[in-house]
Symmetry: C2
Subunit: 305 residues, 2 copies
């Protein structure tokens, strides 16, 4: 893999600030340490015990004493929950050095970009929004591992203000973690995630509740097997995290719910009228698409530029 | 496991007729042969090459020359697609001996019971409808294996006409295959399957098509991972089979689609209005239900009566 570092002779940061040392922030730090791209990693966070764990594990080298420790960082990753960014960004904004690049890990981007525009001022061009799609069921620094991003997609959504050199530098940094970077518009990112992640989660949550609330729930669930188990696996995801994601991406998600509901109504009509030809045509198209996805998912498991 | 054979001193059939020697019919035959409960197995079917494979594999002992070979069978399994039953049942009905029991493997039961009432006449009490929930991606006799039903649920839905001895005998036979039998009303079976199997399939098919038909489909799908892959895995199921199931269970399935759509509308309202408390409450309830299901699915993996 050839990495364009955006003009830097080597991609090596003197001081990396990780704001929010959880699974994502911690794994980012470990990945950069593994390839010797980070000289010193400073961890920022609200939970002292989590930061202590992170330092003992070697995820970070120093625990920040306060926001002053942002000064001197030449790379900053914002990996706190998106809901905390309106509070954190205005504090960090004025401390971003003129050669410092900043990225984030938020799973929605339109809202993050809006916060950044309000908070980062002259540093805005050096903020390169990103979304690593590498969720896992565990959380906290203790769950961090250097290969979390290996082969996983990281969407990078530069905005018109973004400095091309900052974009290349941040992209190269994510690539050093082993991730497969994908450049995308903010709006397309949020739509794609609403359709392929947020909506399936909402459907799985709704499916579980629709069954669990019935008097016959136990008998109904006693008949389920692998298909239902796979379909509803994501219904065991964090309620707090998905509440925040649904609200952060609410407009786009509602558009997706409406489109899906309209399609479901068409399916219902064909079922009610016994239109076997329409159902078979639709189901066959779905199968073709799903089989093509399998093939491309297998190909994507190999890291690429 | 103690098996009540319904008065028979041993559960051993002289001549078992398998009508439709596919994955289900073939595995049923192999399972009974394994426990020496079937002296001779006769296979009925439209595809000579499939029946030849079945005989070579030892799934069946004889290939039926015609419907006359139903005479003398003391156990008959109907394992053809449900859509063929209106044609097959009237032929078999008059040939069902007075000590013969008949069962089936159809994934909807109200329609099968209606066909049987129309076709079986005085033999109706000895027909015991059943639905083994043991789908697999492969089909045909070549995919048959003796342990297909081990630990899997088989729903048995006797009707008011059903002879209690025939019920016990058929239940004991399914238990000999290693299945976990569950007795259920016809209506509850069809509702439970509509909610936990048919609707999830419809949603997964609709989800794939909603994405695949967009100009941005490739970019959208490039961001998907394990969650989406699991959620949509069932969208690769047989279009023909699911067309038939949706139409066979159409009234109940439409009722389920309506209930689900109403719930999705409530979720949409909470998302649109940013009602985080309602979303978190619903998502948390779903997670609790999903985690409980995991626990009971693990327990159900052990065969029981």
């Amino acid at each position: 893999m050839s990495i364009d570092t955006g003009g830097a002779s080597t991609l090596r940061f003197k001081r990396v600030g990780i704001v929010g040392v959880g699974l994502i922030g911690g794994s980012f730090a470990l990945a950069l340490k593994t390839v010797k791209a980070a000289e010193t990693v400073v961890g920022f966070g609200r939970s002292r015990s989590n930061l202590d764990v992170a330092r003992k594990m070697g995820v970070i080298d120093q625990i920040a004493k306060g926001w002053d420790d942002i000064d001197g960082c030449d790379l900053i990753l914002l990996a706190v929950p998106v809901g905390q960014l309106p509070e954190v960004m205005p504090v960090i904004g004025p401390r971003i050095g003129k050669d410092t690049v900043v990225t984030d890990a938020g799973s929605t981007k339109r809202d993050v970009v809006a916060y950044a525009r309000a908070a980062f001022g002259r540093a805005l061009p050096r903020f390169v929004p990103a979304h690593p799609i590498a969720g896992a069921e565990k959380s906290g620094a203790a769950a961090a591992r250097p290969n979390l991003f290996a082969g996983k997609p990281v969407v990078i959504t530069p905005i018109e203000e973004t400095d091309p050199f900052a974009f290349k530098r941040v992209r190269a940094t994510w690539q050093l973690t082993g991730a497969r970077t994908v450049r995308m518009d903010v709006a397309l990112h949020d739509m794609a995630l609403a359709a392929t992640s947020h909506l399936p989660h909402v459907l799985a949550f709704a499916m579980m509740n629709e069954i669990a609330e019935r008097p016959q729930a136990e008998a109904m669930l006693s008949l389920t097997g692998g298909g239902f188990r796979d379909f509803t696996r994501i219904a065991a995801s964090s309620p707090e995290m998905w509440r925040d994601i649904c609200i952060a991406n609410r407009d786009t998600l509602c558009t997706e719910i409406d489109a899906f509901s309209a399609r479901l109504s068409r399916f219902r009509h064909w079922i009610a009228t016994g239109d076997g030809a329409a159902l078979e045509r639709e189901f066959a198209a779905a199968r073709t698409a799903r089989e093509a996805l399998n093939a491309s998912l297998n190909a994507a498991a190999r890291p690429r530029d």
